[in-house]
């Protein structure tokens, strides 16, 4: 079936280091969304990427959508302790309304 793979599953970084999580889809996506879930919380929408090769920035966060619309990445520059949480990508396959989530990357930032 259609899947979205996300790596790494866990990432520990020292505060100030960079962090990147990657998602790959088995087939072309219509769009991809990124969510952040704090410990004990629920997924909170961060951003949506729609266009091939799209790059969007939110302060220290940079989101990319691949040219083939099958992969995406989230990069955080100079992590802070407030960045702690699990980051999920969620793709929409062509003609689908539901989201297909990656397994998430749990980020720990050590002070």
């Amino acid at each position: 079936g259609q899947q979205v793979m996300q790596i790494p599953q866990y990432q520990h970084v020292q505060e100030g280091e960079d962090f990147t999580t990657y998602c790959n889809s088995s087939t072309t996506l219509s769009n991809i969304q990124w969510y952040k879930q704090r410990p004990g919380g629920h997924p909170v929408f961060l951003i949506q990427l729609v266009k091939s090769g799209e790059v969007k920035k939110q302060k220290r966060l940079t989101f990319q959508f691949g040219e083939a619309k099958k992969n995406s990445s989230l990069h955080i520059t100079a992590t802070q302790t407030t960045d702690v949480g699990t980051y999920f990508c969620a793709g929409r396959f062509l003609s689908a309304r539901q989201l297909t989530f990656g397994s998430g990357t749990q980020l720990t930032v050590l002070p």
Binding site: S30, G41, H42, V50, F88, R97, L99, F101
Partner: protein, 115 residues
């Protein structure tokens, strides 16, 4: 504007019992989705309502799960009888139009533990 709300926040039941989860979407959102995350795995789609109609229930794991959305407002998800593997976090999400570029807003989830 109130967000998506879910009740209860936590539920602990014994195997074989019945549990009913409730989701209140954002007012005016016709599209309501149920997802669940079990045992630290990925969040998986269960089903999608458009108003009171089930648009897609391809993710429902088996016939022990029954979802309803009478009147097209809030939705319930009943698990009967509950099994150990049903433990996890059940999320509800809603969106206004349901088109492919639309953001889905998630509720806080119900944490279900089946003993």
């Amino acid at each position: 504007e109130a967000g998506v709300t879910q009740f209860p926040s936590h539920s602990v039941i014994e195997k074989g019992q019945t549990v009913t989860l409730r989701c209140d979407p954002i007012s005016g959102h016709d599209n309501l989705y149920w997802y669940r995350r079990v045992m630290g795995k990925e969040i998986k789609f269960l089903l999608h309502f458009v108003k009171e109609s089930k648009q897609d229930e391809s993710g429902m794991p088996n016939n022990r799960f029954l979802a309803e959305r009478t009147g097209g407002t809030y939705s319930t998800l009943k698990v009967q009888p509950a099994e150990l593997e049903d433990s996890g976090v059940y999320f509800c999400a809603s969106s206004q139009w349901g088109h492919s570029r639309e953001t889905q807003y998630f509720g806080p989830g119900t944490r279900l533990l089946v003993l």
